[in-house]
Amino acid sequence: MAAGFITLIRRTFVAIVVGMALAAAIRVRGRGGVPPQTGGWRELRDDELA
C-alpha cells in the first residue's frame, strides 16, 4: 500500500518535471513570426507634419 503511494508520488513528480522541461524548451526555443518581406520606414517631411 505504502509502496504504491510512493510510486504514485514519484510518477507525479516525474510527470511535473517533464512537463515543466517541455514547456521551458518550447518557450525558450519557440520561433517568432515571419518578418515583412516588403516595405520600409520613411521619415515624414515637414509638409506632411503640418
Binding site: 517568432g32 513570426g33 518578418p35 516588403t38 516595405g39 520600409g40 521619415e43 515624414l44 507634419l49
Partner: protein, 340 residues
C-alpha cells in the same frame, strides 16, 4: 535686488534621465523665464546642478506656488498623481509622463478638479503613451473612421522606466475590444511588430500599459485598442521575479509604432506611424514640447492624453523640430535592390 525674469515660470518634478532633459529644453525656450527642478533624491539634485541651464534653479518639496504657469511631472510612475493634483490646485498647466494604469486612472479622475480650476492636465505625455497618442490623432486625420488602434514600444529610458517595464510585463493588460474593456495576462499575445530602424522587428507582448485608457475617450466609436511592448524570452521568464540587478542608468535606442485601421472613401485603410529614439530623450522632447505648446494657447480645461490635445499637427511639428521626427511605414521596399 534682482529683476524678475520675463516669460513663464515652470517647475519640473524629477531630475532623472527624462526630467533633467525636460528642464534643459524648457531652459532653452525663450517663452520660459524660469525653471525650477525638484527631486526627492537630494544627492542626485546636487550631482546634476552643474548640468542645468542659466534660468534653472533647484527647489524642494511638493508644493507648487501660486503664479506657476507650467508644471511638468517626470517622477517615478506611481508618484505623479499627488504632485499633479497639487499643481492643478495652484492653477498651473500640468504635463505628466506616467505610464502606469492605476496612476493614469487617478489622473484622468483628477480632470474634474482641473476643470474646476480651469487648467489643462495632460496625462501620459511621454514616449508611449504620449507620442503614440499624438501620432494616432494626426494619423487619424486621413481616415473617415478609425476602427482599430494598435500601439507598441521597444526599449526603456532610465532606471525607473526599466522597473516599470519589468512590472508591466507580469501584470494584467487592459485592452478595448468590441466596445468593452478586457483584461489579459501580461506577457501573452505575442506579435512581431516592425519598428523604425535600427530597432526593426521585435516580438511584442501584452503588458500593463495605459494607452487604451487614453486613446478610447479620444476616438469615440473605435472597436479595438491594444498596447504591446517588446520583450525578450528572458524578460518574460523573469518578469514574475524581482529585478535581479540594478537597471542601467539609461537604455539604448528604442522605438514606438502606431497602427491605425479603418475606412477611407469606402475602402479599408491602414496607416503605420513610428519613431525611434532613446526613450528618455523621446519622452523629454514630447513632455517639454507639450508644455511649451500649451503655454501659448487656450487649452480646454480637464484631463486627457495627447490624442485630445488642441492643434496636434503643430505640436508634432514642434516635436520634429527638436529632433524626434516621426516615420511612416510604406508598403513597398525602400532598398536599392528593390528600386533596381
Amino acid at each position: 535686488m534682482t529683476s524678475e525674469p520675463t516669460g513663464a515660470a515652470a517647475v519640473v518634478f524629477g531630475a532623472g534621465a527624462t526630467g533633467l532633459r525636460i528642464a534643459r529644453m524648457l531652459d532653452d525656450s525663450p517663452s520660459v523665464g524660469s525653471v525650477e527642478v525638484r527631486d526627492t533624491d537630494l544627492e542626485r539634485l546636487g550631482a546634476v546642478a552643474s548640468r542645468l541651464g542659466p534660468k534653472t534653479r533647484i527647489g524642494q518639496g511638493p508644493a507648487v506656488a501660486e503664479g506657476t504657469d507650467l508644471v511638468v511631472v517626470a517622477t517615478t510612475a506611481g508618484s505623479q498623481a499627488v504632485l499633479a493634483l497639487a499643481a492643478v490646485k495652484a492653477g498651473a498647466t500640468v504635463v505628466t509622463t506616467t505610464n502606469e494604469i492605476a496612476e493614469t486612472r487617478a489622473l484622468l479622475a483628477a480632470g474634474k478638479e482641473a476643470r474646476r480650476h480651469g487648467v489643462a492636465l495632460v496625462v501620459g505625455a511621454g514616449y508611449m503613451p504620449g507620442l503614440t497618442c499624438l501620432l494616432a490623432r494626426v494619423g487619424a486625420a486621413g481616415f473617415d473612421a478609425v476602427d482599430e488602434i494598435h500601439v507598441a514600444k521597444a526599449g526603456t529610458g532610465g532606471p525607473a522606466c526599466a522597473r516599470q517595464h519589468h512590472r508591466a510585463l507580469s501584470s494584467l493588460a487592459i485592452d478595448w475590444r468590441d466596445g468593452r474593456w478586457t483584461r489579459r495576462a501580461g506577457g501573452s499575445g505575442r506579435e512581431l511588430c516592425w519598428f523604425p530602424d535600427p530597432v526593426a522587428g521585435r516580438d511584442c507582448y501584452r503588458a500593463a500599459l495605459p494607452d487604451a485608457l487614453l486613446l478610447v475617450p479620444a476616438f469615440p466609436g473605435v472597436d479595438r485598442v491594444t498596447a504591446r511592448m517588446a520583450a525578450t524570452r528572458r524578460d518574460r521568464l523573469t518578469a514574475p521575479l524581482p529585478m535581479m540587478r540594478q537597471p542601467h542608468p539609461e537604455g539604448g535606442v528604442g522605438a514606438v509604432r502606431v497602427e491605425l485601421r479603418g475606412r477611407r472613401r469606402g475602402e479599408r485603410h491602414v496607416v503605420v506611424l513610428g519613431s525611434q529614439a532613446k526613450p528618455a530623450q523621446g519622452a523629454a522632447v514630447v513632455a517639454a514640447s507639450t508644455g511649451l505648446h500649451l503655454l501659448g494657447r487656450e487649452a480646454p480645461a480637464g484631463a486627457a492624453g495627447l490624442a485630445s490635445v488642441p492643434d496636434p499637427d503643430r505640436l508634432l511639428s514642434a516635436i520634429a523640430a527638436l529632433g524626434l521626427r516621426p516615420s511612416r511605414f510604406e508598403g513597398f521596399a525602400l532598398t536599392h535592390d528593390a528600386v533596381a
